[in-house]
Symmetry: C2
Subunit: 235 residues, 2 copies
């Protein structure tokens, strides 16, 4: 165990490589093995963010996540992928798992973390979340003083989403995608549509911001968010 490698969960931020932390850069460069979520064609957003810091001496492990809906195959996938990483860790190799945004907010890293943390030393490096990166790109302060700030996944049932939005002082709705139309209706109903702001693919070269009434619901990608800033204005 003492000769085993360390598992690093590394937040690589929302897309702009300049939003990597110094610590993420150092640990990615030093890692023996770099693992990252990848699509079927091996393209990976997370790998792209750190590409300038990868080098030939490293083993790369693309992780092809199954869709969240099919839970049993997903578990088998996580078991197998965790075992693949465990082989490297047992051989004394440090493994960096790249995580878009932050590893502990709605990330897939936890599937590896719960499997491997009982057996290996783990360190988690926080990353810039799309939540604050999106607000920064929009130039919209989120929350002040006694505000309760709610992070709401767009994928939750619309009635529950309405209640959570109504009760929050400030909110960010994540991963809007095909739910955009229904969510804009809820924001209208709650009188929040003028205050809300929309952004997609924050900090990437494809970033786009629009007033909500100008958004074509049929074009909204998964990586998109709506910020509903606090009503309070600092004086």
């Amino acid at each position: 165990m003492s000769d085993a490698g360390v598992l690093y969960g590394i937040g690589v931020g929302p897309g702009d490589p300049e939003l990597l932390t110094l610590k993420a850069v150092r640990l990615v460069q030093a890692a023996d093995v770099v693992a990252f979520p990848a699509a079927e064609d091996r393209r990976s957003i997370a790998r792209g963010i750190v590409a300038a810091y990868l080098h030939e001496g490293q083993v790369e492990v693309p992780l092809r996540f199954p869709l969240a809906e099919s839970s049993n195959p997903a578990q088998r996938f996580y078991d197998a992928a965790a075992e693949e990483l465990a082989v490297h860790l047992e051989a004394g190799r440090n493994v960096a798992v790249l995580c878009e945004g932050d590893p502990l907010l709605y990330g897939t890293f936890m599937y590896f973390y719960t499997r491997l943390a009982p057996r290996f030393r783990c360190e988690i490096v926080p990353g810039i979340s799309s939540i604050t990166a999106g607000a920064a790109a929009l130039g919209v302060p989120i929350s002040y003083r006694n505000d309760v700030f709610a992070v709401i996944p767009a994928t939750m049932p619309i009635e529950a989403l309405r209640t959570r939005l109504r009760d929050a002082d400030a909110a960010v709705i994540l991963k809007v995608g095909r739910r955009f139309g229904a969510i804009r209706d809820v924001l209208r109903e709650l009188g929040l549509v003028e205050r809300a702001r929309y952004i997609e693919r924050a900090t990437t070269s494809d970033e786009r911001t629009l007033p909500l009434h100008e958004v074509d619901a049929s074009t909204v990608p998964y990586f998109s968010m709506i910020v509903v800033p606090s009503a309070w204005t600092p004086e």
Copy 2:
């Protein structure tokens, strides 16, 4: 206006200088003027985080924030401090305002932003928030899938805090300080005290983590938080 400087609101993260982003380092080094919140004795946490990147050619502007309670003097302070920064901006000097954590989450940067954004070009650089840095130091995943994640300032009335905690799937309570005892009582009442985790001064050399029942309420500093992670466990 076109020859005016740019106002940068720069998130410098929770304390560890290695959690600075590459972009923050570049902009701090390049700034003509560096402004930062400072105590009466001129000590500044934010300045300490970037100290290695400051140099003699820069003008430093310590900002001594008044206490939030005294709102009228506070407004006069923000007016005067914003004017001091405006003089530099009008002279064509770029001004970096250092913000602990992230500039748009419960920060004081917005008092300058609301005053100066109508007159000058502004850019906001997101920073690692103590929220995710604290969770990373604790090794505690915060939220998954459809969880609503609530950020709750400890300073809000205790009854409201109880309701918000009860309704959230996952929560972080910020700036606990002297409210620790009352909040621990609420967590006990809601059956959350075993799941909750405590951390103070995350990522600094004085970082301390403890189970809640071991915390001496009289020693809890302002820079402290309680993480109540999601009850859901990834499989």
